[in-house]
């Protein structure tokens, strides 16, 4: 039996994890210092979701992948120069703040509105994918809210594996406590899947895919609608953790001595 899906991936952009981040309080609440100057990447868990979406679409003829992203158009265009070379996709851009100090409720409203406006989207075949948490707000709340707004009540979070059965059912492994997975079977789409890391490697860059994607990405960026997204709360304080340890350096010391010290430390209560 042939199963094809309309796969919508929600993915924001975040500062490159290697950057030093520092909060500042501005007139509109907290933000990152020099945020617009920081190099950005596609949110790592959302990127895993995108790779899984592309893998799924490739395996099921007739499937299609959309990437819905809320970010400033200029930063999103920079990130898409790389992402677009990885997997075939159609971008749906929403122009707005991508930082962590926004409220998931308001972000979900903007994303759901953009998804509802996708022409030709068959919501009976919809798989709504994203990262189970972002690397910015890290709340793990937005995907559920988008799903609710779209009327999807079969939802899964911390997904590491999705297998499509011959009958179109979805066998899903979700991360739960104790390093275990919960195994569930959903009868089929529509469903929300918030991905953890999954098992797929990062796809290699393909200039050919990049050329195809960019023909649609640039117009999508131009027609991105602005979204009003705020903090939704009052920040009494935002600060870097103050804890700084006094690191004791042990060098030019015999291996035997180091090993003994480590073992004593390990076995001590």
């Amino acid at each position: 039996m042939s199963n094809s899906f309309h796969i919508v991936v929600c993915g924001g952009i975040v500062p490159d994890p290697l950057q030093t981040l520092e909060p500042v309080i501005g007139p509109n609440g907290p933000a990152l210092k020099n945020e617009l100057l920081l190099p950005h990447v596609l949110d790592p868990w959302a990127a895993h979701a995108l790779y899984e979406a592309a893998h799924l679409a490739k395996a099921h003829a007739g499937s299609k992948v959309w990437l819905v992203s809320l970010a400033s158009k200029a930063k999103l265009q920079q990130v898409m120069m790389t992402v677009a070379q990885r997997v075939p996709l159609e971008l749906v851009a929403v122009d707005g703040p991508s930082g962590g100090f926004t409220d998931s409720f308001e972000v979900a409203a903007a994303l759901a509105g953009a998804i509802e406006a996708i022409p030709g989207l068959d919501r009976t075949r919809l798989l709504l994918l994203g990262g189970w948490e972002s690397a910015s707000r890290a709340a793990g709340a937005t995907m559920q809210m988008v799903g609710e707004r779209l009327g999807i009540t079969e939802q899964f979070q911390g997904v590491d594996e999705l297998t499509v059965g011959e009958d179109g059912s979805l066998r899903i492994l979700e991360r739960v406590e104790g390093g275990q997975h919960q195994v569930s079977v959903c009868s089929g789409p529509p469903a929300v899947l918030g991905w953890a890391t999954g098992n797929l490697p990062e796809p290699a860059n393909s200039p050919q895919i990049g050329m195809q994607n960019m023909r649609l990405i640039l117009p999508a960026l131009q027609k991105a609608k602005a979204a009003q997204v705020g903090a939704g709360c009052t920040f009494a304080n935002v600060a870097l953790p103050k804890q700084q340890r006094e690191t004791r350096m042990v060098k030019d010391t015999p291996v035997e001595e180091i090993a003994r010290e480590i073992v004593e430390w390990i076995v001590a209560e």
């Binding site: 290697l18 409720f105 793990g140 079969e154 700084q244 010391t253």
Partner: protein, 338 residues
């Protein structure tokens, strides 16, 4: 404003409440206001009786076979009914995988707002949570109600529950549910598989350096695997890895075969809570170290004296060859065992 606080908890497989649920109950009591307990599970009477003296004005529950399993559609329907029945302004629940899956959806249904991974609650109420994957900490207040809070472990001393602390009259709420999802069960890693073990006293993190060329110009993957697995067998430590090492395995390179994304600690991995952590062959850059935020005692073996760990991120940095040190550590552990 006088708040109505709803403590939401789900029962464990044996019908009890988890330690985290009891910590959450203690946190809920600290907020003041009228306390209502809402329980979800297959059979909740034992759990309710164990906290009979907690001071709740009402005990509500949604129970039955459909609610014994952790599943979005049934859990969301149950939580929605409980919040409505309690007329709660603040809903506080433990940050378990079960509630993390559904509670944001419930907040959406009820026009509320949610904050997750809450690590502290103060008068106001004000809550503390991390942003940018444990890289900065914020204190927040909200006017919007209902306000949903999912709290992390360690937020309070657990409420001292007792078997049959009292006999509670639990108000059962009828909830009709239909779901297209069947839960088949839980899948544990294979017995020989090394994973994150939340209950271990020690976290051992393997960095990408284990797979790099050594002083003789060759990589020693087999030696690395033998040393790491030997150490884990001797100590029962939890095994974590840096993202770079996991990515190498994802790319199909011949690297440590027992590592997967499940082991990943840091920016896009887990943030485990162990009393001690030993990092080896990991450079200690910020994306790795954010996963160590809740590791109390940190020691590191690395060849580079200027690595990230040296900048106030570890208690002790051993500037040494991890291959040589771990060989001796394993030998000493074997001697200690005999």
């Amino acid at each position: 404003m006088s708040e109505t606080i709803l403590l939401l908890a789900h029962t464990e497989a044996d019908g009890s409440l988890s330690r985290l649920a009891l910590e959450t109950l203690a946190a809920a009591k600290s907020l003041g206001g009228a306390l209502v307990v809402g329980l979800i599970g297959g059979d909740v009477q034992t759990a309710a009786d164990s906290i009979a003296g907690c001071g709740a004005a009402r005990f509500l529950s949604v129970a039955g076979e459909a609610f014994a399993e952790s599943r979005y559609s049934t859990d969301a329907a149950a939580a929605e009914a409980l919040v409505k029945a309690a007329q709660a302004t603040i809903v506080i629940a433990p940050q378990t995988s079960r509630f993390a899956r559904c509670m944001a959806g419930v907040a959406q249904r009820l026009g509320g707002r949610i904050d997750t991974h809450v690590t502290a609650i103060a008068e106001g109420p004000q809550i503390t949570r991390w942003y940018y994957r444990q890289r900065m900490e914020a204190v927040i207040e909200r006017a919007q109600r209902p306000w949903f809070l999912l709290v992390e472990s360690g937020i309070a001393e657990p409420y001292p529950s007792r078997d049959r602390e009292g006999a509670v009259a639990v108000e059962m709420l009828p909830v009709e549910v239909s779901s297209r999802t069947r839960v088949l069960g839980r899948q544990a890693p294979k017995a020989e598989q090394q994973t994150i073990r939340p209950d271990a006293k020690l976290l051992f993190v393997a960095g990408a350096g284990w797979t790099k060329k050594q002083a003789d110009g060759a990589a020693h993957i087999d030696d690395a695997a033998r040393l790491i697995l030997g150490f884990l067998a001797a100590t029962g430590a939890s095994l974590g890895s840096s993202k770079s090492l996991v990515d190498l395995s994802g790319e199909g390179q011949a690297v440590l075969p027992f590592l997967s994304h499940m082991n990943q600690v840091g920016q896009t991995g887990s943030t485990p809570r162990h009393p001690k952590g030993l990092s080896t062959c990991c450079h200690g850059e910020e994306p790795h170290v954010v996963g160590w935020r809740f590791i109390r005692e940190r020691r590191v073996i690395n060849l580079d004296a200027n690595c990230g760990w040296a900048r106030g991120k570890a208690d002790v940095l051993y500037v040494a060859d991890a291959f040589a040190v771990m060989e001796r550590v394993n030998a000493l552990l074997a001697e200690t065992a005999t």
